[in-house]
C-alpha cells in the first residue's frame, strides 16, 4: 500500500473527452440492450461522441478465464481489441465492470511483462495488429461522476425521494488503485442519486457480490449463490429499498433474474427492480422510455415510472 488508492475524478479524467470509444459488452447488448442504448443517448445529450466498432470482439471475460480457458487467448484478445481503439486515438470506455476489470488488469499485465506482451503481439501481429498501451481504460460511471454537475443541471425528471440503493460491483472496486472511491466502501453512486433527487439507502449487505460470481450461478447455485443473494435481498428489503442500480450487466442478470427463484425457494416476496445506473441517469435526463429497454427486466419496475409521472402512453411510445 505504497501509493494513494483513491483519486479525484478530475485527476482520473482531466479533460472531458469529445469522443470516446464505447466498448461493447456481450451481456449488456444481449441480456439488457437498454443499457447500451441509455449510455449512447446520455452521451449524446452530454455532447460526447460515442464511437463503436463492429470489429471489436468480446473481452473474453473473467467468467471463461477463471473456469475454462487459459489466459494466453485472453491476453491476445485484449491486445487485439485495444489495438483497434489505439488506431482511432481514443480512450476506451466500458459499461460492464467485467470488461473494465478484465481489460485494465490484462493490459496492465501485458505492459508490465515483456514476455507476455511479445507473445500477445506476436499472435495478433499475424492478423495485422499491434498493441502499444496508448489507450486508457475507463468505466462510463467515472464519466458520469466527473460530469455530475452537468447532469444535475440537465435534470428533467427528478426522482422525488425514490429510495434507491447502490450495488457497486466487485470488478470495479477491486481494481483498488486509481479508482474514484474507496474500494472498501465506495459512496459515489449515492452522491449521484442525491443529485438526481433520490434518497440514497445504505443497506447492510450493500457490499455483497451479486452472485454472478464468474459462473458460480451455473455450478453452485443452490448451495452458495441463492443463500448468499437471500441475505442481500433481505437486508435491502428491511432497509426499504425501492430500486437497486448496478453498473454491470452481469450483476444485473444475477440480481434481476434470480429474484423469482429465491422467492420460490425461501417463500419470500422480494420485488426490487434492478436497473443500470446509466439507465437511471438517462431516465432522469428525459430520454424516451422505450429507448431504455426495461422490457428485458424479469423483475418489473413496480410502477416506479408512474410514480415519477411517466404515464403508460409515454412508456409505450
Amino acid at each position: 500500500m505504497q501509493e494513494a488508492r483513491v483519486i479525484r475524478p478530475e485527476e482520473r479524467i482531466r479533460d472531458i473527452p469529445e469522443r470516446v470509444f464505447l466498448f461493447r459488452s456481450c451481456t449488456g447488448s444481449i441480456e439488457y440492450p437498454g443499457t447500451e442504448s441509455a449510455i449512447r443517448e446520455t452521451l449524446k445529450m452530454l455532447g460526447v461522441d460515442a464511437v463503436m466498432d463492429p470489429d471489436q470482439t468480446c473481452c473474453s471475460g473473467y467468467l471463461l478465464t477463471c473456469s475454462a480457458h487459459k489466459p494466453e487467448v485472453s491476453l491476445a484478445v485484449t491486445a487485439r481489441n485495444l489495438a483497434i481503439v489505439e488506431k482511432k486515438g481514443l480512450d476506451t470506455y466500458t459499461f460492464c465492470n467485467g470488461c473494465f476489470g478484465y481489460i485494465s488488469e490484462l493490459s496492465h499485465i501485458l505492459l508490465h511483462n515483456q514476455a507476455y506482451l511479445d507473445m500477445a503481439n506476436g499472435v495478433v501481429g499475424k492478423l495485422g495488429y499491434r498493441f502499444e498501451g496508448k489507450t486508457r481504460v475507463f468505466h462510463v460511471q467515472e464519466l458520469w461522476y466527473r460530469m455530475k454537475d452537468t447532469i444535475a443541471a440537465m435534470l428533467v425528471r427528478p426522482l422525488n425521494g425514490l429510495r434507491v440503493a447502490a450495488h457497486n460491483g466487485c470488478h470495479y472496486v477491486a481494481r483498488q488503485y486509481g479508482i474514484l472511491d474507496d474500494g472498501g466502501y465506495p459512496t459515489f453512486h449515492e452522491e449521484l442519486f442525491e443529485l438526481l433527487g433520490a434518497k440514497p439507502v445504505f443497506y447492510k449487505e450493500r457490499q455483497l457480490c451479486c452472485g454472478y460470481a464468474v459462473g458460480r450461478g451455473f455450478t453452485h447455485k443452490e448451495e452458495l449463490v441463492q443463500p448468499h443473494l437471500y441475505k442481500k435481498f433481505k437486508s435491502a428489503e428491511q432497509a426499504g429499498v425501492e430500486l437497486i442500480t448496478t453498473v454491470c450487466p452481469g450483476c444485473n442478470v444475477a440480481l434481476d433474474r434470480e429474484q423469482p427463484n429465491i422467492n420460490k425457494r425461501y417463500g419470500e416476496a422480494f420485488n426490487i427492480p434492478v436497473i443500470d445506473l446509466s439507465q437511471l441517469i438517462a431516465l432522469c435526463l428525459g430520454v424516451p422510455i422505450h429507448k431504455l429497454g426495461f422490457a428485458a427486466n424479469t423483475t418489473p419496475l413496480n410502477g416506479i415510472l408512474e410514480r415519477l409521472g411517466i404515464g403508460k402512453e409515454t412508456a409505450d411510445g
Binding site: L64, A213, F218
Partner: protein, 203 residues
C-alpha cells in the same frame, strides 16, 4: 552435524501454483485472516478459507486443494484482495489452481459448462449468445423495440479473428483435450465445516 543452510530449504514452493507469476508477493502473507473474514463464500461454506489455502500453498501442500471442491466455490469478488494489508492478489491464485486441477482431471464437472460457453463464444465472438433461434428472436425483438440493430453489431472479420486467436494460442486444443475420460472425482467434501477426505467406498 552441520547446520542446515538456507539453500537447503526448498524455496518458491508456490511457483508451482503461480505458474503465470501473477501473485509474486505471496510470501508476504501475514496469515492475519482478514481475507477469510470478508469472504462471502467462507461465510456460507466454512471449509473454504483463503488464509488456509495460502498457507498450504506456501508450505507445498497445495495438492489437497487441487483435488478439492472448495477451489471451485470462489466467487472471484476480490473482497480478500481489497482487504489484504499486503495486497496479495488471491483471486489470481485460485484461477491458476483451477487450471492445474483441470489438467489433473479434478473438478471437471465444474469445467464442462464453461467449456461449452467458450466453444460457442469462439464461434460468436460474444460470450453468452444463446444458441437457440427462439432465444435469439426474443433478443432481436427487445433490441428492435429500443431502435437498435436486431443483433449486436459484430463483424464477420471480428468473429473470424476471435476464432483464430483461440486456435493460435492453443486454447482450442486445450479445451478439446479435456474430456470426460480424464475425470476424477473431487476428493475433499464439505461436511459441517470440515474437510473430510473420502476413505474407501461409501464414505
Amino acid at each position: 552435524m552441520p547446520r542446515e543452510k538456507e539453500k537447503d530449504l526448498e524455496q518458491d514452493l508456490y511457483s508451482r501454483i503461480d505458474v503465470y507469476k501473477l501473485a509474486p508477493n505471496l510470501e508476504t502473507c501475514l496469515q492475519c485472516g482478514k481475507c477469510a473474514g470478508v469472504c462471502p463464500v467462507a461465510n456460507i461454506s466454512p471449509s473454504y478459507s483463503p488464509r488456509i489455502i495460502i498457507n498450504d500453498i506456501l508450505r507445498g501442500r497445495a495438492d489437497r486443494w487441487l483435488e478439492s471442491e472448495e477451489i471451485w466455490r470462489c466467487f472471484w469478488c476480490a473482497n480478500c484482495y481489497t482487504m489484504c494489508p499486503m495486497d496479495i492478489p488471491y483471486p489470481m491464485l485460485i484461477m491458476q489452481m483451477r487450471y492445474l486441477a483441470i489438467e489433473k482431471g479434478y473438478g471437471l464437472k465444474y469445467f464442462f459448462p464453461f467449456k461449452k460457453f467458450a466453444m460457442r463464444a469462439r464461434e460468436d465472438g460474444l460470450t453468452f449468445a444463446p444458441a437457440s433461434p427462439k432465444a435469439r428472436e426474443k433478443i432481436a425483438k427487445i433490441r428492435q423495440g429500443i431502435g437498435l440493430s436486431p443483433w449486436p453489431e459484430i463483424s464477420d472479420k471480428a468473429r473470424e479473428e476471435y476464432k483464430a486467436l483461440f486456435d493460435m494460442t492453443g486454447v482450442t486444443d486445450f479445451l478439446a483435450s479435456i474430456t470426460e475420460d480424464n475425470e476424477k472425482p473431487v476428493r475433499s467434501t464439505y461436511l459441517e465445516g470440515r474437510i473430510t477426505r473420502a476413505r474407501g467406498k461409501g464414505n
